[in-house]
């Protein structure tokens, strides 16, 4: 496992993230235009969804898909409860802040997922193509779970009907599922047509995208530090390092339980371990505007994302290999 970790730390992907982080912490004016970053994330979602669909078209579909989605949805509903309880114990966060953070950790980070795919491929594994559907299915339930936690703690309010539609149809879910279905329909032949676009340059785009993630995470950390660092206590930071291991462990168990391949188990672990930093923050701004965005964004993007990218991914791969006896 240490070899894996070392190789991962020295991959262009992780180094690019590190460069972004460093540049931001040094207050360099290096920035990637918002439109370009959004363009790259659209590219990555489209490519990964499409390739997942093609894999399903090639290998056919089995009960595994339904089981995996079911397990994923359960995880997404359940993890926030664990996260919330943990936060209540080890951090001084308010109920609202703790619930908002919990929503992030039940949901998933698609970039972490993309990076994990890249790691599985480097390890010669071929995860189930439908894992992208599982990823999409896990985005939203955690939000409902967190709102329920808030309500149960006496601070609930009616959920705006429109919000649910917004969450379920948010851009990244629609693009992921849509390109998955397109890949499924067009199959390997469709892939041949566009693979020079979605396969060959994929890793390079991911590197530049992670450079931007590093910049954004670094700026967030700096802003947090400037704010006196009081926003986050040690308990909360410990949470952001422990929770991915819990989520990753449960994800791996769930994946192995529903009979996924080693690559699939690794991806399931990653989904459990990763924390949203786009869809859930947006939903929280609408549903729980009083929760402090610095808290959940710093934890999710500033602590857990780098942790997963550097240490988590090799650990989940190792876990998957161990569980599946590979």
């Amino acid at each position: 496992m240490l070899d894996l970790a070392a190789a991962n730390l020295l991959s262009p992907m992780v180094l690019c993230f590190g460069l972004g982080l460093l540049a931001a912490l040094l207050r360099s004016d290096l920035t990637i235009p918002e439109a370009v970053a959004k363009g790259m994330s659209i590219y990555l979602l489209f490519a990964i969804g499409f390739k997942g669909g093609v894999a399903v078209a090639e290998n056919g579909i089995d009960a595994g898909l339904a089981l995996a989605i079911g397990a994923g949805v359960l995880l997404s509903f359940g993890l926030p409860v664990i996260a919330f309880t943990l936060l209540q114990r080890i951090s001084g966060l308010s109920v609202l802040d703790a619930a908002a953070v919990a929503a992030h950790y039940g949901s998933i980070s698609i970039v972490t997922f993309v990076a994990a795919t890249s790691v599985t491929e480097a390890a010669g594994l071929r995860p189930e193509g439908y894992m992208v559907a599982v990823a999409a299915a896990m985005e939203a339930p955690a939000i409902l779970s967190a709102l329920w936690l808030v309500a149960r703690n006496g601070q609930g309010r009616a959920m705006e009907p429109d919000l649910l539609r917004e969450i379920l149809l948010n851009g990244s879910i629609v693009l992921l599922i849509g390109s998955f279905v397109i890949g499924w329909i067009t199959g390997p032949q469709g892939l041949t047509e566009i693979s020079a676009f979605i396969t060959a340059p994929f890793k390079g785009v991911l590197c530049l995208f992670l450079l931007d993630m590093g910049l954004v995470a670094g700026r967030g950390l700096r802003a947090n530090r400037q704010g006196g660092g009081k926003v986050l206590d040690r308990g909360a930071i410990a949470f952001a390092l422990i929770m991915p291991l819990i989520g990753g462990g449960l994800g791996a168990l769930a994946g192995a339980g529903v009979g996924l391949s080693t690559g699939g188990v690794m991806l399931m672990a990653t989904l459990g371990a990763s924390a949203s930093y786009i869809a859930v923050p947006a939903a929280m701004r609408v549903a729980l505007p009083e929760a402090n965005p610095s808290v959940y964004l710093t934890l999710s993007l500033g602590v857990t994302f780098p942790f997963n990218l550097t240490i988590g991914l090799p650990a989940y791969l190792w876990l998957a290999q161990t569980l599946n006896g590979a």
């Binding site: 931001a24 920035t31 990637i32 235009p33 918002e34 429109d162 910049l215 954004v216 995470a217 700026r219 967030g220 802003a223 400037q226 704010g227 786009i278 923050p281 947006a282 929280m284 701004r285 609408v286 505007p289 009083e290 402090n292 965005p293 610095s294 964004l297 710093t298 993007l301 500033g302």
Partner: protein, 103 residues
């Protein structure tokens, strides 16, 4: 040139709330507004910038409404109901407009 007194209301609000705000405005009978992009800012909730998009999911926007003075209260009530729990600011200025039939 003939000018007509009006009010200019400038609402700076999170981008995720834009649709909700404009729907509330439309609900209150306000049909004219212009949305400007915002690059960054600072307020009680700290400093943010569009490129370091941490702290404001998707950033903020500025919604500018020109309106006949007698319709100001309706607009503010509608806007306030949306803005109330959210961060952001509302600024009202006296102004004059050409082509009053448009407001």
């Amino acid at each position: 040139m003939q000018m007509h007194p009006a009010k200019r209301v400038e609402i700076t609000i999170e981008a995720v709330m834009e649709r909700r705000l404009t729907e509330a405005l439309a609900g209150a009978g306000v049909t004219g507004w212009t949305v400007l992009p915002v690059m960054g800012g600072s307020g009680r909730s700290g400093v943010w910038s569009r490129e370091g998009q941490v702290g404001r999911a998707g950033g903020m926007v500025q919604v500018v409404c020109l309106i006949r003075p007698d319709r100001l209260d309706g607009l503010l009530d509608a806007a306030f109901a949306v803005v109330e729990r959210h961060i952001g600011v509302v600024c009202i200025t006296d102004c004059a407009v050409l082509r009053a039939e448009r407001f």
